[in-house]
Symmetry: C2
Subunit: 155 residues, 2 copies
DNA sequence: CATTGACCTCAACTTAAGTTGAGATTTTAG
DNA sequence: CTAAAATCTCAACTTAAGTTGAGGTCAATG
C-alpha cells in the first residue's frame, strides 16, 4: 500500500511485499522463520526486505500451486544467490527440477488410473481376486485358516 | 493372529481385522470414529466386526493409495449397503468416480507441466514477463507507482 | 505532539490421518 | 483360577503450512 512513497523502491516493508505478491504478512513471517526469505531490521525492529525477495516469494507461490512442499523449495533456494535477484539461469534450473517432479507424479497417477479402468471393466472374476482391492501379498500368504472370505453370492 | 480359532469367521475382533487388512488397530478405531466402519460390542465392551468391514477397509486402503481423502470415502460409503459385503456393482461405481478424480488431477498436472516446459525453454523476454512467475493479474493492475521492479541486468 | 495504522512477538489454533502412551479392563490359554 | 495377551478409553502428539488473537511497540501524518 505504500507504493506511493518516493523512498527508494529497493527497501520494502513487510506490508509492501505482501501487497506486491499477494501473500499475507503472516505467511511472510512464516517463510522467514523457515529460512526461505531474509530481512534486515530497522532500529525499531521492523523488517525490511531487499527487492529480490519478491522473486523468491513468486517462486514459493509457484511451488505452492504445483503442490511442491516448502522443504523442497528450501532445497532449491540453497543454490540461489543470497544477495541479488535470482535470474533466468536460476529459474531454469528450478523449473527443470520441478517439471521432473510433476512428471513423476503424473506417471504415478496414470498408473493408478489404469488400475481403476481395469476395475471398471472388472476383469476380476470376483472381488476377492481384484488386484486393486487386494494389493499383492494380501492373497496367498498369511498362514493357515480361511485366507479368503467366502465371496458374496455373485451378485 | 486368531486365524486359527475355529469360531465362526464372520465375527472378527479388531485384531483379526488388523491382521487381515494390514491396518493398525489404532487406525481401525479411527475409521470407526469417522463413521467409515461399524462394530457391535461384546458384553465386556470389545469391538466385533462383521466380515464385510474387511472390504470396506480394503476400499479405504485403495483410496489412501490414490490420495483420496477419507471425507471422500465417507461420501461413497453412504450409498453402500450397511449390512452386507459391498459387491461388484458397488465397487464399479466407486472406481468410476475415483478414476474421474484421478483424471482431473492428471490434467491439472499436465497443465502445470507444460507451463514449466515453457519456462525451461524460457520464451519469456525477461522473468518480469514470465507468466508462470507472474500469474495473470500480477502485472498491469495494482495502482500507481513503479509496478514492475527494475529487471535484473539481462544476465 | 498525538493519533492512527503498520508492525512486532508469542502462543494457540486449524485440517488430515492417524500414532503413542497411560492406566484400566476383558478375554483367552494353560 | 491365574497370568498373559488383547482390548478398552482418553488425551496428547505428529507434519505442513500457515492463521488468529492478545498485548505491546514503531512510524508516518496532521
Amino acid at each position: 500500500m505504500s507504493d506511493k512513497k518516493p523512498s527508494p523502491t529497493d527497501i520494502l516493508s513487510v506490508g509492501d511485499v505482501a501487497a506486491r505478491t499477494g501473500v499475507a504478512v503472516s505467511a511472510l513471517h512464516f517463510y522467514e522463520r523457515q529460512g526461505l526469505i531474509a530481512s534486515v531490521r530497522t532500529a525499531g525492529g521492523q523488517r525490511r526486505y531487499a527487492r529480490h525477495v519478491l522473486r523468491r516469494v513468486s517462486v514459493i507461490q509457484v511451488a505452492k500451486r504445483m503442490g511442491i512442499p516448502l522443504a523442497e523449495v528450501a532445497e532449491v533456494f540453497e543454490d540461489l544467490p543470497a544477495d541479488r535477484m535470482p535470474g533466468k539461469t536460476d529459474w531454469r534450473r528450478i523449473s527443470e527440477r520441478w517439471r521432473g517432479k510433476l512428471e513423476a507424479r503424473r506417471k504415478e497417477i496414470e498408473r493408478m488410473e489404469s488400475e481403476l479402468v481395469e476395475c471398471i471393466g472388472c476383469g476380476c472374476v470376483s472381488l476377492r481376486s481384484c488386484r486393486v482391492l487386494n494389493p499383492d501379498d494380501a492373497l496367498g500368504s498369511s498362514g493357515s485358516g480361511p485366507r479368503l472370505l467366502p465371496e458374496f453370492p455373485s451378485e
